[in-house]
């Protein structure tokens, strides 16, 4: 009797699950900053460096977007790679996610925050002792290899450069194409086709700024990337996720001045969008990495719900009387 189409026919259960219960549970933890002072300082410096670099390349970008963006790839890859190596724990060296732990939307904001705070205070209190502290918090299954990389904060330099290189390769190959597609569906020009390489380069820049650190810290864990696709990572003190969100939102806003009829050279595709990406990225990083606001929170995409009962309250006026009567009798 139970054919697939008939499952649809079931009358809905009287009480539908609340919005939070309709959702999956995000499993990723906020990405910590490595507990060394260097990491903290360099993460500030990095934000500044990248913004200044783009600022000085602005005229070159306007003059010849394709060449400028292509040449910039080198510097941005290097800067982001160095940032990852210096400031972030590489994938596998930290507890990046709860292995199927029950963190739902409402409590999710709190639980990872605790883990994260523990790590952070540990880092502040006893510099090198942090790894042991983190070990305590982490479930044993997730710490594989963590104990061997004891000294420093993120393991040996060699152990950082190799993942940085790997994640660079992944960043340059995987995200640019989907990001290009997103740009195109949002209205990036298809004609003339000579602009398509520019769009691809723009997407590569977004990938380097927004996704390289995620590859570095989360590797290719499918549950982590499911969270990334659902924009469900928690904001973190290292400013990685805020940078990603900021870059995308900034690019979105950056498209705004293009339509104006000022006839300026810089209004051409994709200059303003790239600047929007960089500024949004920087703002996102400033808010979480420097000002430390909203850390541990996730983007909430659920619609607001009225309290049950709010819709049934009635007024004593007009045909409402009959309404309440019938309601009682029902």
């Amino acid at each position: 009797m139970s054919s697939p189409s008939i499952t649809h026919l079931l009358p809905p259960t009287p009480v539908q699950p609340a919005a939070s219960a309709r959702l999956l549970t995000p499993t990723t933890q906020p990405i910590p900053l490595l507990p060394s002072h260097l990491a903290k300082r360099y993460s500030y410096f990095h934000t500044l460096l990248v913004v200044i670099y783009y600022y000085f390349r602005a005229s070159a970008l306007v003059a010849d977007p394709y060449t400028a963006m292509f040449l910039d790839l080198g510097f941005v890859s290097l800067a982001q790679g160095v940032f990852c190596a210096v400031c972030l724990p590489s994938a596998g060296s930290w507890v990046s996610g709860t292995a199927g732990g029950k963190i739902n939307e409402s409590t999710g904001a709190v639980a990872p925050l605790k883990t994260f705070k523990g790590a952070k205070t540990g880092g502040n209190l006893s510099g090198s002792g942090s790894s042991s502290l983190r070990k305590k918090i982490a479930p044993p299954s997730a710490v594989k290899g963590g104990s061997t990389k004891g000294e420093g904060a993120g393991g040996s330099w060699k152990g950082r450069v190799t993942p940085a290189l790997f994640s660079l390769i992944l960043t340059l190959t995987l995200p640019p194409l989907p990001l290009t597609l997103i740009a195109l569906v949002l209205g990036a020009p298809l004609y003339p086709t000579s602009l398509l390489p520019c769009t691809l380069l723009l997407a590569t820049h977004v990938a380097l700024l927004g996704f390289l650190p995620i590859f570095y810290t989360h590797g290719v864990s499918s549950s982590a990337w499911r969270d990334v696709a659902a924009a469900w990572l928690p904001f973190d003190e290292s400013g990685v996720w805020a940078g990603t969100v900021g870059a995308l939102v900034g690019g979105w806003i950056g498209a705004v001045p293009m339509a104006l009829d000022w006839d300026r050279e810089w209004q051409k595709w994709p200059c303003t969008v790239l600047w929007g990406v960089v500024l949004g990225w920087a703002v996102g990083r400033l808010v979480t990495n420097v000002a430390r606001l909203g850390i541990g929170r996730r983007i909430n995409l659920s619609e607001k719900e009225e309290e049950p009962g709010a819709g049934t309250e009635v007024l004593a006026a007009g045909p409402v009387k009959t309404l309440s009567e019938t309601k009682k009798s029902k």
Partner: protein, 1021 residues
């Protein structure tokens, strides 16, 4: 897995009306009856509520329009033959104010004769492009080059709006048009003020008119009834009837000897109609222009020595052949004057050839009246503001500056007299400085004339005239700011009320309707009393009627707001969710963007941007859903939604301001208004696929049952096939494929039959199906199974209801094909592509809303669905070949099922063509509530509340846009782009708001009532 519902016989039989009153003994039946009555009463109350809102919108729009749409005072004074404008008696015997040059005149208007049609392409282009509209009317230029003393060819600049009726007013009175008159193109009214036709009549001349019948509505009774022949002007499909009629009747008149006429006005429409129907770059245009060339040649030969021949365009046409706006191509017409005897000259001796482009040495269309009047020995009409065209008075050989200066002087004193009278009748509000330059030039002109320096006098006079004209242009942009502010206040308060009532107040709005309406009504009455009393007490600030209307509206809205504020305020957080923020940002940024001409021009791209953004967000949200079915379905539909949005963006019709960087794809080429043959694939694909797509959405919940199969799978498809056949024949007709086999009349008959059959399927069959259909469910009763638990109960038969999950939605969705079919019939093939995508996107949107918990229910009233529907409607407005310009109205659609203009059908068809996308989306608004709405014990309870929420949220978007565009148009009333960009957008926003209001009342609320009763009959109310 079977749903068991014991249907009692009582429950399945629902009867309303009084008949069941007595016999209803069972309490359930009594409740049913009460529920039905309550349901119907609420429907009526909500209808009244929305109608009241519509009325408030109308009043707001009217108030603003009253102050914003410009008016000019029409003076009734007339010039007299014997009295010079400065009051002296005229001493001239051979004419009125100046000796006449010609006895008779043949004045021919070739409608929409653009200047570049008459100029050899090699003069403009190094390598002339092969265009059908170029080089096919060489006569004018040839004669002007070979016989400069006999013929002059000049660019002839129209004052927008470039609609024929407005242009005829300007051409015969010499006045500047004001915007308010544009609406009268469909119903011309007689010209009351002084004009050249009435001056001719007063002088006892016999006037003959041939061609466009607009002249008769403007000048009733002026023309000689025996020789005059007029023809219907609005049948733009017909390229030849008017022209052939004019040619047929004009030749005998020219051959008469002695002539019984003095002036012939001939008005050819073929070129204009070819432009409207095919666009300028089409063989039909070439053929038409060559025909005109031959006709003019013949007329030229038949002319005698004392007859003046004038040929002119009343306006130009844009790249698609339409007109009405004020782009360069629309205002640049051509003027050609010819005389058998050498009588014309040059104003600039250095230049030998006629201007190569319309940018050089143009003359205004208002200049024609004074020129003709003096040439024919008539007084210049009183209200004229034009100056004589210099070339007509300088005479052959070396320029005769003296005559010219004298003629100038006459026109000057006439304009000065008009100025004096006008400022006496209406305070111009100008200080003395405004006249300073005028006085300087005038003094210079008088001084030069006194010294005999006639050429200097002429130039000083020209400068004076430029000053005057620019002053009047500014002056008649004289807005009534108080009225505009009143209008904005009303619209703003109405918007505030709707926003507060729909978004910020909780609780059951449907049951609140009576109280709300009562206080609104009370407020209206009190306000009307106060307003009219104020009108009596202080007549200076308020007159009676506006005071009454304004006071009533304002107080009604305020009372309603106060009432809802007092009764509905809850302490819940008002901060919206991310979705709410998104909707808010979309509305507000777009509203702010209308302050800039760029964002108004590129609105279609912005809407694409917003819609895709929504799609991406919904994609992200879908990926978070726990249920695999929701996740997969939501992701799939989101991706589809995004791709469809982008796909629709390939259908574009660029407005002039978007060039370059925009490629029109709506028609065969950017210079045409016909569809390319390959585009015929679209209607057939739509007929093939669209019913299948809709069917697939029904099958998702096994709802493809009941009337759905017959209506969607059969009737709708047949209708779409008829539409496809219609457009095939249309393209065949335009391309001349069937020329040998079938005459154009036969084709038109076939096409009208096809169109009417499609409409018959859409409207009578569609409405009938929608009203009388049963819910789209299938009920099967299976054999009783032996009870598994052996409890001793007798096994009961099991009832399986297919389509239960979406009873309301599938039933309501039956309405949409009806609208889609009607709109598709009126749209060219690419427009059908867009409207089909629009339909598909609506369905995607519904699934997205459902899978992401965004539908409007008792749990929450998300504004996303209705707002995205509004964006979708606005987006597809642009994708169906429209722009926020007057020229982009597809007037042709009025002739799809009709041969001639018929009221009220023709305007209705144009509205349906223009705003089809918004109408479909507005009708789909209740679907955001009832798509997959659970049916259960609750029955219809809360349905009206949710529907009202959805409707108000939808109207909120359009009302925001309307208020924003209105405010910006008012604020930027001195902006250079006002008439090109801001005013059309403002007019469009007002029209859309009212249309959407009406659709919500007529389609959405009524549809929900039908669906509610129909579903309630089966599942309980």
């Amino acid at each position: 897995m079977v749903d068991r519902i014991g249907l009692s016989p009582e429950a399945s039989r629902a009867e309303d009306g009084l008949g069941s009153l007595e016999k209803s003994a069972a309490t359930t039946e009594e409740h049913q009856r009460q529920n039905i009555i309550r349901f119907k009463v609420t429907h009526v109350l909500l209808t009244v509520l929305l109608l009241w809102l519509t009325a408030v919108h109308v009043v707001g729009i009217l108030f603003f329009a009253k102050g914003f749409l410009l008016t000019r005072l029409v003076l009734d004074n007339r010039s007299e033959c014997g009295v010079l404008p400065d009051g002296q008696p005229s001493q001239i015997s051979n004419g009125c104010w100046h000796p006449k040059t010609f006895d008779r005149a043949v004045i021919l208007i070739i409608d929409a004769l653009r200047y570049d049609f008459t100029i050899p392409s090699r003069r403009v282009f190094e390598q002339p492009p092969q265009k059908y509209y170029l080089d096919n009317l060489p006569l004018l230029h040839e004669t002007a080059v070979s016989h400069p003393d006999h013929a002059i060819l000049l660019p002839f600049i129209a004052d927008p709006p470039t609609s024929t009726l407005q242009r005829l007013k300007g051409l015969t009175t010499g006045t500047l048009p004001t915007f308010i008159d544009i609406g009268s193109n469909f119903a011309g009214t007689a010209i009351e003020e002084d004009n050249i036709v009435s001056q001719l009549k007063n002088a006892g001349k016999t006037i003959v008119h041939l061609g466009d019948d607009t002249w008769h509505s403007l000048f009733p009774g002026y023309f000689d009834p025996n020789m005059t022949h007029s023809y219907d002007s609005f049948n733009v499909w017909d390229l030849h009837t008017v022209d052939n009629g004019v040619i047929e009747h004009i030749m005998p008149l020219l051959d008469q000897s002695p002539q019984q006429w003095d002036v012939i006005f001939g008005h050819f429409l073929g070129v204009d109609h070819a432009g409207h129907r095919f666009g300028p770059d089409h063989p039909a245009m070439a053929e038409k222009l060559r025909q005109m060339n031959d006709v003019l040649q013949e007329i030229m030969h038949k002319l005698d020595d004392d007859t003046l021949l004038v040929v002119m365009g009343d306006h130009g046409m844009d790249t698609k052949g339409d007109h009405g706006g004020e782009s360069d191509e629309e205002v640049e017409a051509a003027l050609w004057m010819y005389s058998k005897q050498p009588r014309f000259g040059k104003a600039e001796t250095a230049v030998l050839l006629p201007p190569a482009t319309a940018k050089e040495r143009p003359v205004g269309q208002i200049d024609l009246v004074s020129t003709l009047s003096i040439l024919l020995g008539l007084p210049i009409p009183f209200n004229n503001l034009g100056k004589p065209i210099a070339e007509a008075f300088t005479g052959p050989g070396s320029p005769d500056w003296k005559t010219l200066a004298r003629v100038d002087r006459l026109a000057q004193s006439q304009i000065a007299r008009y100025q004096e009278h006008y400022s006496r009748s209406r305070d111009l509000g100008l200080d003395d400085n405004a006249y300073r330059d005028q006085r300087t030039y005038l003094a210079l002109s008088v001084e030069s004339a006194a010294d005999g320096r006639w050429e200097d006098a002429h130039h000083a006079y020209v400068n004076w005239h430029n000053e005057v004209i620019s002053m009047y242009r500014r002056l008649w942009a004289n807005f009534n700011v108080e009225d505009m502010i009143c209008g904005i206040t009303i619209s703003g308060l109405a918007l505030g009320f709707v926003f507060f009532f729909s978004r910020l107040s909780m609780g059951d709005k449907a049951s609140a309707a009576p109280g709300l309406l009562r206080s609104a009504g009370l407020g209206t009455v009190v306000g009307a009393a106060i307003g009219s009393a104020l009108g009596f007490l202080t007549p200076s600030s308020f007159s009676f009627l506006p005071g009454l209307v304004f006071g009533g509206t304002i107080c009604g809205v305020i009372a309603a707001t106060v009432w809802s504020f007092r009764h509905r305020l809850t302490t819940q957080s008002y901060l919206p969710s991310l979705w709410g923020w998104m909707a808010l940002v979309f509305c507000l940024t777009q509203s702010a963007g209308f302050a800039s001409n760029s964002y108004t021009i590129h609105e279609d791209t912005i809407l694409l941007f917003f819609l895709t953004t929504f799609g991406i967000l919904s994609l992200i949200s879908s990926l978070r859903q726990a249920s695999t079915a929701d996740r997969v379905l939501g992701t799939y539909q989101s991706v589809l939604f995004i791709l469809l949005t982008r796909l629709a963006s390939f259908s574009r019709l660029c407005r002039e301001e978007q060039m370059p960087g925009c490629r029109s794809t709506f028609y065969a080429s950017s210079n045409s208004s016909t569809s390319a043959p390959w585009q015929l694939l679209i209607p057939y694909s739509v007929a093939l696929l669209l019913p299948e797509i809709i069917k697939a959405f029904y099958q998702g919940t096994a709802s493809y049952a009941g009337s759905a199969g017959f209506w969607i799978g059969f009737s709708f498809r047949i209708g779409l096939l008829l539409v496809a056949a219609y457009w095939t024949i249309d393209v065949a007709d335009n391309g001349g494929w069937l020329m040998e086999r079938l005459s154009p009349t036969t084709l038109k008959t076939i096409n009208i039959t096809l169109a009417r059959s499609a409409l018959a399927i859409a409207v009578p069959v569609g409405i009938g199906t929608f009203v009388w259909a049963k819910p789209c469910i299938n009920i099967s009763i299976s054999e009783p199974r032996p009870a598994a638990d052996n409890s001793g109960k007798p096994p009961r038969p099991q009832l399986t209801i297919y389509g239960y999950a979406n009873v309301y939605g599938s039933r309501y969705l039956l309405m949409i094909p009806m609208l889609v079919l009607s709109v598709a019939l009126l749209l060219p093939p690419v427009g059908q592509f867009s409207i089909a995508i629009c339909t598909w996107q609506i369905l995607c949107l519904l699934e997205i809303l459902d899978t992401n918990g965004l539908t409007i229910s008792s749990r929450g009233s998300s504004s996303v669905g209705p707002i995205i529907l509004a964006l979708l409607g606005s987006y597809h407005f642009f994708k169906t070949g429209h722009q926020a310009t007057l020229a982009s109205i597809q007037w042709n659609s009025a002739f799809v099922p009709l041969r001639t203009i018929q009221y009220p059908w023709s305007p209705l068809l144009v509205v349906l063509n223009t705003f089809g996308a918004q109408i479909i989306c507005a009708a789909a608004v209740p679907l955001t509530v009832i798509w997959k709405r659970p049916t259960g014990k609750a029955g219809l309870r809360g349905l009206w509340n949710d529907v009202l929420n959805a409707c108000l949220a939808h109207a909120l978007y359009y009302a925001t846009i309307q208020l924003a565009t209105t405010m910006w148009a008012g604020h930027l009333r001195r902006h250079l782009m006002l008439y090109r960009v801001f005013m059309p957008r403002y007019l469009m926003a007002c029209a859309v708001l009212l249309i959407v209001d009406m659709v919500l009342v007529v389609a959405a609320l009524a549809g929900v009532r039908v669906v509610g009763l129909s579903v309630g009959e089966v599942f309980g109310y």
